[in-house]
Amino acid sequence: MYHKYDVVVVGGGGAGLMAALQLARVPGIRTAVVSKLYPSRSHTGAAQGGIGAALGNHEEDHWEWHMFDTVKGGDYLTDQDAAEIMCHNAVETVYELEHLGLPFSRTPQGKIDQRRFGGHTRNFGEGPVRRSCFAADRTGHMILQTLYQQCIKHEVEFFSEFQVLDLILNDGVCCGVVALNVRDGELHTFHAKAVMLATGGYGRAWKITSNALASTGDGVAIAYRQGIPLEDMEMYQFHPTGEYKLGILISEACRGEGGMLLNDKGKRFMERYAPTLLDLAPRDMISRCIYQEIKEGRGINGQDYVHLDLRHLGREVIESKLPDQADFIRVYLGIDPVTELVPTQPTAHYAMGGIPTDLDGRVTVDERNTPLPGLYAAGECACVSVHGANRLGTNSLVDIVVFGRRAGKDMAEFVAHNELVPLPPKPDAYASAQVKELLGRTEGESVADIRTELQAEMMDKVSVIRSEETLCHAQAKVQELKERYSRAAIQDRQSWFNTELTEALELGYLLDISETVIAGALARKESRGGHYREDYPDRDDKRFLRHTLIYNRGEGIQVAYKPVKITRFEPMERKY
């Protein structure tokens, strides 16, 4: 089926909905949101602790301090022009969300309540500051709901449960996407002046992850297949506190409210590693410290986890400020955080890297930041890069609303000044062949087995601690799995709501993404932020204060680099 729109947004999470909302407010622009889930199921809804903005509702705060923390938190790989825009715009954007109806928790004076969060400091690192604006511990849920509600109010058109399969490019211009209607298996061609990818992250490449089953990096992989480079893919964040063995996130808000990490000796081990910020040091550091404690035999009972202690917070704080956390812990671990210690381990959480964009969400395709006309990206799938080598807590929500909004506004301008580019012949040929092949293959290995092996390999070899040896092993393994995937078969041959087919397509995306993560990690022979190389334990600004670009050039992977934008803050040693 053929559709014509001014803009097609792929993905119905925070970034996509924020962009769609900007467009919906402009009369005459027709926008469609194409999403593989109902928008209210998007993973933005799983974000918990808050959205960072220097409102100063409790104590002095400035967006410049927020920017400094973001840059330092990103281990100086952050593009500072982007961080400046984000932290500056965060303030008005949070107020805008409040005006749209977001039910923030409130101070006794009726203002938006704020709490401490990892890596957020006053006066350039002096001590923790209350910057995270929150709605209990379901801030992402409330952002997603509020934006979805506003999109309903503004009559945005949704195509829910449509799996995106391909981008349509014609002579270097993006003019649409191809998507599969999961319900009946029909392919739809969306012809548009502008396309925005807002498809989220890819935590499902790892075995232990906080991410939804739907977080398979679809948009990122599709862009990569079309020859668009991917930026800083080696920068993947492991959140320190996932529920042991399950990976379900226990929010940093727990530590923001005063929770502590303890080793087998019952000792608050972060005192040793980050004497100023302690348990509110950035995530990359804490995850590494947990691995170090485990390696030195101080994991609980010698095993691969530590404890999160919330007992001293008391029942009232836990029930009123962290109700969902308490619920997750009770349901899935079967323990009560009011009286018991919570077993936690690092969990694959967030992609700092992704599809390179400029400050207005325009996708760029080379080392000189040349935009690809008509293609935009924002949110976790994109790399602006505001998070650099490590994202601070609360900044993912800031990123999606600030850059989703900027992309939306820029697209409104773009479609007003540009004509619809004609579709190339047979725009759905690739997508159609892919689906036919998967539905047609009668014999082959199971997709689930290949996925399980991929996730185990990525967890074992490409997680918190890496080396040439582990990465080369993973590289060979992923090549082997890709080869096996090309011969894998599914049992379900129906076109009607075939979720085995969509799972198989998603595995294809995960394999491509894993390949780029490994390539980036092998090329970056230094340690920075979330990327730690045992064989190169130090940061090397001379050689690697630059962004990695991974290209799919048909004949193989090619690595290139582009400079980091440094404006206000010169790189310094990163201590907390």
Binding site: A46, P103, Q145, Q491
Partner: protein
């Protein structure tokens, strides 16, 4: 442990009528019912069809009937329901395939109560003020994840599919009791009509079914009182 899972299956494009398929799988007692379904799909029968995403009770994709009760498969552990599990789609919506039901009418009803802040006053430069006490009035109903468990557990809805249903009313409550909202008059049409809140017979099935622990029946009673006495 070994678990026997009976699943009500139906593909309207190929099956004359629904049937039950039985699978025996090996899982841990601490696994979720969603893990049981995944185990079946990934290692026994790839054609089994259900929705899922976050797998920890916040996205609302996998609401279904588990041993006769509406629950989220990802928030129900095997040890809670035992080694004989019957899984069926939610009741009252058309089945698309197996455990997947057609939610179009559900979302249409949600939209009918105007589930968004209505306030045309120009906003201040900063935030609108709201006291913690004012916010507390609607805190409970902000938790809704639109999973559909409440509406499809409601006998009033089973009897009359025109009933707007508890999920939509929970979301109406969320705005009606928000001190910043001025849209009650615009919502009265849908909320106060014959097919609105007055179809609620305070059976409490919705409250039992809600995976987010929302006091759904109470919210509807709040709305009734607001319409009667304000």
């Amino acid at each position: 442990m070994e678990v026997t899972c009976r699943v009500r299956r139906y593909n309207p494009t190929t099956d004359e009528k629904p049937y039950y398929a039985t699978y025996t799988v090996e899982v841990e007692s601490t696994d979720r019912v969603l893990d049981v379904l995944n185990e079946i799909k990934w290692h026994h029968d790839g054609t089994l069809t259900y929705r899922r995403s976050c797998a920890h009770g916040v996205c609302g994709s996998d609401a279904m009937r588990i041993n006769g009760r509406n629950r989220l498969a990802c928030k129900t552990l095997v040890k809670e329901v035992g080694d004989r599990i019957t899984v069926e789609p939610m009741m009252g919506f058309e089945v698309v395939r197996d455990l997947v039901v057609d939610l179009d009418s559900f979302f249409e009803k949600y939209k009918s109560v105007k589930p968004y802040l209505i306030n045309d006053d120009p906003p201040p430069a900063g935030e609108r003020l709201q006291s913690p006490e004012e916010r507390e009035l609607y805190d409970d109903t902000t938790k809704c994840i639109l999973c559909g468990a409440c509406t499809t557990a409601c006998p009033s809805f089973w009897g009359n599919r025109e009933f707007v249903g508890p999920a939509a009313l929970v979301n109406a409550h969320r705005f009606i009791f928000d001190s910043r909202d001025k849209g009650l008059d615009q919502r009265v049409g849908a909320v106060g009509s014959r097919e609105g809140v007055w179809r609620c017979r305070t059976i409490f099935n919705c409250t039992d079914a809600c995976p987010r622990g929302i006091k759904v029946t109470k919210a509807m009673e709040d709305v009734k009182r607001k319409l009667l006495y304000d």
